[in-house]
C-alpha cells in the first residue's frame, strides 16, 4: 500500500481548498488516533492534511467573557495555560487525565471532537459548559454536534478552528473512571454543574450525552431524584473495558458523590 500524500497547508484558506479538491483526504492534527489507524490499515486515505502547525488553530485566548481554545492546541498547552487555570480550571484537570505526557503533548480537543469517540475525556466538560465549536464556516453548539456513533454534523471539508467556552461563573465538577490510573480510556467520565443544572457523561452511550431527565430533577434541587433518574438517561454497553451494569452503578454513585461532596 503506498503512503498517502502528505499535504501541509500554511493557512486555513489553503487547507479548505486542499480539502475540497482532494478526495479521501484525512485531517491530521496530533496524530494520536489517525496515525494508529493509518498504520493498522483501518483507514486508507489518499492524502493527509496536516493542520498541526496552522496558526489559526493555535492559541488560548479570552475574548469578551469567553475562553477560546485553538482546535490544534495540544492538551499540554491547556494544562499549563494561566488563562485556563483562572477561568476554567476543570478543563486542565480533565486534560491531565488524558493519556500521559506523550499523548497530552500531541492530542487536541479539535481532534477529539472530530474523531467523535464516545469516550473523549474532555467532551463532558464541553457539554456541561455549553461550549461552541467554531469551524471555518459556522458556530455549532456542542449539544448539536454529535449525530451518532463516531459521526458529527461536520461536513467532509469542514475544519474545526476553535472551541469557545462562555464564562458565566458556573462551577463544573469532573471525574473520570478509567481502566487504570494513567494511559486509560474512560469507563465512565462525568462533568456536573449544579447551576445551571448540567449532567454530562461520556462512555455510557454511542455519543457523549447530557442526562436530561436527571438534569430536570437537579434543576428542581432534587439531588436524590437526579441520582435516581440518571440510569434512565444512559445506554451503556458491555465491552472490552467494562460492563453495562458497572457503568450504570458507577454513574449513579459518582453522580451522587459529585452532587453531595
Amino acid at each position: 500500500m503506498p503512503y498517502p500524500r502528505y499535504l501541509k497547508p500554511s493557512s486555513i484558506g489553503e487547507a479548505r481548498a486542499l480539502l475540497a479538491q482532494t478526495p479521501n483526504c484525512h485531517v491530521l492534527a496530533g496524530g494520536t488516533d489517525l496515525m494508529v489507524q493509518l498504520h493498522t490499515g483501518q483507514v486508507r486515505p489518499n492524502a493527509l492534511l496536516d493542520v498541526w502547525g496552522l496558526e489559526e488553530l493555535k492559541g488560548i485566548t479570552g475574548p469578551d467573557g469567553t475562553l477560546e481554545i485553538g482546535a490544534a492546541e495540544p492538551y499540554s498547552a491547556i494544562i499549563h495555560s494561566p488563562l485556563v487555570a483562572r477561568d476554567l480550571p476543570v478543563l486542565a484537570d480533565a486534560a491531565r487525565t488524558i493519556g500521559t505526557t506523550q499523548i497530552q503533548n500531541r492530542g487536541t480537543i479539535g481532534g477529539n471532537l472530530a474523531t467523535a469517540s464516545p469516550a473523549g475525556d474532555t467532551i463532558p466538560i464541553l457539554l456541561a459548559a455549553d461550549a461552541i465549536v467554531i469551524t471555518d464556516r459556522r458556530a455549532i453548539p456542542i449539544g448539536g454536534f454529535y449525530t451518532g456513533y463516531r459521526t458529527t454534523v461536520l461536513q467532509s471539508d469542514e475544519l474545526i478552528v476553535r472551541i469557545r467556552f462562555p464564562l458565566d461563573g458556573r462551577r463544573i465538577a469532573f471525574r473520570k473512571i478509567g481502566t487504570r490510573q494513567a494511559q486509560a480510556i474512560s469507563k465512565v467520565v462525568l462533568a456536573v454543574c449544579r447551576e445551571p443544572a448540567r449532567i454530562a457523561i461520556g462512555s455510557v452511550a454511542e455519543i457523549p450525552l447530557r442526562a436530561t431527565t436527571a438534569e430536570g430533577a437537579l434543576a428542581q434541587g432534587d439531588v436524590a431524584g437526579a441520582v435516581e433518574a440518571v440510569a434512565g438517561d444512559i445506554r451503556p454497553i458491555d465491552d472490552v473495558r467494562s460492563t453495562a451494569a458497572y457503568r450504570r452503578a458507577v454513574t449513579r454513585n459518582v453522580l451522587r458523590r459529585l452532587l453531595t461532596d
Binding site: R5, L28, M35, V36, Q102, R106, Q183
Partner: protein
C-alpha cells in the same frame, strides 16, 4: 525532502511525509535506539523529544518534524560521557531487559528539564506513558530522583 535536526545534526530524508517518524529514525537513519513496542502510542518505547516535548514517535508523521529539533537516546551522551540520567539508570539497576530504557530516559529528561526538583509522584506522572514490565518502576523512580537538582 524533509529536513530536521536529530541530536543536533541536520538531516534530510527523502521520505513520504506520511511515514512514521519512528520508521524514518530506525530504517532511514539507522538509529535503532528508539524502540517499537506497540505502534499505537500506548507503551512509550518510541518516546523521543520534539522541540523539548516528549512524544511517541509512532504517532508522528515525519512531515510534521520539518524544521524541528528531535532528540533520541543516541543524543543523550556527550563526548562519550554518559549523561547523569544514564549513569543513574545503571547505578540504581533501573534497566533490566532495557527495551523501555531509551523511551524512559527521554521521558525523564523532559521532566527534569521542566521540573528540576520533582517529587516521586511527579516522576510517576512523567513516566506513566512508558510501560516497563521488568522493574515494577521502583528503581527507575529512584534513578530519576537521584538526578534531581535539589534546591539549596
Amino acid at each position: 525532502m524533509i529536513t530536521f535536526t536529530v541530536n543536533g545534526n541536520a538531516v534530510t530524508v527523502d521520505a513520504s511525509g506520511a511515514r512514521r517518524l519512528l520508521d524514518v529514525l530506525r530504517e532511514d537513519l539507522g538509529m535503532t535506539g528508539t524502540k517499537e513496542g506497540c505502534g499505537e502510542g500506548e507503551c512509550g518505547a518510541c518516546s523521543v523529544l520534539i522541540d523539548s516535548a516528549v512524544v511517541n514517535a509512532c504517532l508522528v508523521a515525519v512531515g510534521q518534524v520539518e524544521g524541528a529539533e528531535v532528540l533520541t537516546v543516541e543524543g543523550l551522551e556527550r563526548d562519550g560521557e554518559l549523561a547523569p540520567l544514564q549513569r543513574a539508570f545503571i547505578d540504581h539497576g533501573a534497566a533490566q531487559c532495557g527495551i523501555c530504557t531509551p523511551g524512559m530516559l527521554l521521558a525523564a529528561h523532559a521532566l527534569l528539564a521542566r521540573t528540576p526538583n520533582p517529587t516521586a509522584h511527579d516522576v510517576r506522572i512523567a513516566i506513566a506513558g512508558n510501560l516497563c514490565r521488568c522493574t515494577g518502576y521502583t528503581k527507575i523512580i529512584e534513578a530519576i530522583l537521584a538526578c534531581r537538582i535539589r534546591a539549596t
